[in-house]
């Protein structure tokens, strides 16, 4: 240990420490502009770098021409309405239901691609409630309801979202024990626009005894056009009760997002068939954030591709297409078709 007697740099220490007040801001970029062109450029950069479906074969889009055409429509004199309209044009070309922009201070001011617009819903909840589910049904946290149909031969389950409550493995176990003497199950996810993908995955795992390779999720991982990674996806059997008798999954255009994961996971289960109408899609995961003017954006940053190379972001056709007869307010033809399919299964 050395010793000395003077401290000539002591005042300098104080000065340097004071200099460090908010020194982190030196490393930060300046705030972006909030004029129309800055906002447009900020949003386009987000889509350019983060959107994972520019090359989706289900919705081909010419990125460069879309950029040129929409950029030409923006200058700093147009209104917020007009700028939002330009973003709406971009979203309609992307045809991705997960992508939207809203004014976070006024959520009624938004644009999105309405994949469901003009498409029959193929679901009348009143008919389901009155003639199938009835009043004597089991309920799991206001999210999953189930009952027996056709003198106890058929189990009927409806899940209209994966968000309202919590479904645990023990809940699914209990339900499948209740269905142990059935010949098959109808799993009705029509009208289910998504929610928690972990919950959808948890339920799907109760319909296989074996680990099944489903495909992969393709993630955008960086700003470059080729910055993607692939995460293999497997349907792993649950540790609780497994149901391997016929399962008919009912679908419609509103089946979206986490419900697409549910469908994707069950696609290669030999005991599962899909009945109803084309799904809405919305495969993959999303990111969201704010533009510098406070508009809230969300977009798709991944997509599911199955082991046969099929894409799901813009929906999937069912194995058996059945439409609801809207003039018949006492029957649900899709449920009836599923009952028949189970009863005719060997």
């Amino acid at each position: 240990m050395r010793t000395m007697k003077k401290f000539p740099l002591f005042p300098a220490v104080l000065l340097i420490l004071l200099f460090l007040v908010s020194c982190e801001k030196i490393a930060m970029k300046p705030n972006p502009g909030t004029d129309n062109l800055s906002i447009y450029n900020e949003y386009w950069k987000i889509l350019d770098e983060k959107y994972a479906l520019w090359d989706n074969p289900q919705a081909p889009v010419n990125k460069d021409s879309l950029h040129q055409a929409t950029l030409a429509a923006v200058d700093n004199t147009i209104s917020a309405d007009s700028l939002m309209h330009v973003f709406g044009i971009i979203l309609n070309h992307l045809k991705d239901g997960h992508s939207w922009v809203e004014d976070a201070a006024n959520p009624h001011f938004y644009v999105e691609y309405k994949f469901y617009e003009g498409v029959p819903r193929n679901l009348d909840q009143k008919v389901v409630d009155q003639y199938y589910l009835g009043t004597d049904y089991k309920d799991v946290d206001s999210t999953m309801q189930y009952t027996l149909l056709h003198n106890g031969d058929i189990g009927y389950v409806q899940v209209r979202d994966w968000l309202g409550g919590v479904i645990l493995d023990s809940d699914v176990d209990e339900m499948l024990k209740y269905f142990k003497d059935t010949k098959g199950i109808i799993f009705d996810v029509r009208g289910n626009g998504g929610g928690d993908p972990l919950m959808a995955n948890l339920v799907a795992r109760h319909f296989t005894h074996e680990k099944i390779y489903v495909g992969y999720e393709r993630f955008k991982t960086g700003p470059g056009p080729d910055d993607f990674s692939k995460s293999d996806q497997y349907l792993n059997p649950a540790s609780g009760v497994i149901y391997t008798k016929p399962v008919m999954v009912l679908t419609n255009i509103i089946c979206f997002s986490a419900t697409t994961l549910f469908i994707y996971n069950l696609r290669y289960c030999p005991n599962v068939k899909f009945i109803g109408a084309r799904t809405g899609g919305g495969s993959g995961s999303t990111a969201d954030g704010f533009l510098a003017n406070g508009w809230h954006w969300q977009t798709s940053v991944s997509e599911f591709i199955d082991k046969d190379g099929r894409h799901y972001n813009n929906g999937m056709e069912p194995d058996i297409a059945v439409a609801l007869d809207t003039l018949n307010s006492t029957r649900d033809e899709i449920i009836d078709a599923a009952i028949l399919e189970i009863l005719e299964s060997k």
Binding site: M1, I16, L198
Partner: protein
């Protein structure tokens, strides 16, 4: 951006050299337990998602138990809570929480009758959570892990009542998990390795070198007698999950502390 980082590191290097050029004396053997609290200014920018800066006010608490004999040991815990807002819009307010446990070991390098200059090691464990209102998937930003830092500490007796402490701590490396990748709220490392799945959240506490994660801490404080201490702290963290898109957060805090355990064997100043 690299040049800005260079400026910060240069300033800190000069600061360190300044300390080393000076001399010090031991403050004396002691056992101290300081409870500190204070107010802070914080700032945040995650260039992966936006260049808009967030800033805000908050408060923190810190508990320090220090033992000084031949070497200096400091066992501490700190927690900070902040509320931040964006520079360019009124929505999306963010709440932040930062927790940290650390142990500092310091060995005096140079002493004079009035001052001590010490160098050592600080292993720490930390957890940071940032929650942004109105966002959905990207609402929660989590970082947790442990790092190894090198602290330089300079203590000087100013007069019979006041003792000054000035310190700089620079993280060398760490192991950590950050949940915000370039796109999704999952570790960038997990996505790049193709290990994302829906059955569980893959644990991924990965080695992080200095150039991917930078954590700098400075402090200057003035102890009044045996009981009170008044200080200023600055911390900056800069994380590169993706090259060219750093997340930067920092705070400046003014603190006041009270020594609960009063056991100091002092040397008189000359």
């Amino acid at each position: 951006m690299a040049s800005k980082r260079l400026i910060i590191l240069t300033v800190l290097l000069l600061f360190s050299l300044g300390l080393i050029a000076q001399q010090a004396t031991p403050e004396g053997k002691h056992k101290l337990l300081y409870l500190e609290t204070g107010g802070m200014l914080s700032s945040f920018q995650d260039q992966k998602f936006s260049d808009v800066r967030y800033s805000g006010l908050g408060m923190g608490v810190r508990l320090d138990y220090s033992l000084a004999k031949k070497n200096f040991w400091d066992f501490g815990a700190e927690a900070f809570f902040n509320r931040e807002h964006a520079a360019t819009y009124d929505v999306g307010k963010a709440g932040t929480q930062d927790y940290r446990l650390f142990v500092t070991w310091l060995r005096p390098l140079i002493t004079t009758p009035d001052a001590t200059l010490s160098l050592g090691l600080t292993p720490d464990i930390f957890f940071s959570m940032r929650s942004t209102a109105q966002l959905s998937n990207n609402a929660a930003y989590l970082i947790f892990g442990y790092t190894v830092k090198v602290p330089v500490e300079y203590t000087r007796r100013i007069n019979d009542k006041w003792v000054m402490h000035a310190g700089l701590s620079l993280q060398l490396f760490g192991w950590m998990q950050e949940n915000m990748s370039f796109t999704y709220t999952t570790s960038q490392h997990v996505l790049e390795k193709g290990e994302f799945n829906y059955d569980d959240v893959p644990a991924d506490i990965s080695f992080v070198p200095l150039w991917k994660y930078l954590d700098i801490r400075t402090r200057i404080s003035f102890a009044l007698g045996k009981r009170w201490i008044f200080g200023y702290r600055w911390n900056m963290q800069e994380s590169y999950q993706v090259a060219g898109y750093p997340m930067i957060k920092g705070y400046s805090a003014l603190t006041v502390g009270y020594n609960i355990v009063n056991r100091i064997k002092e040397k008189k100043a000359h």
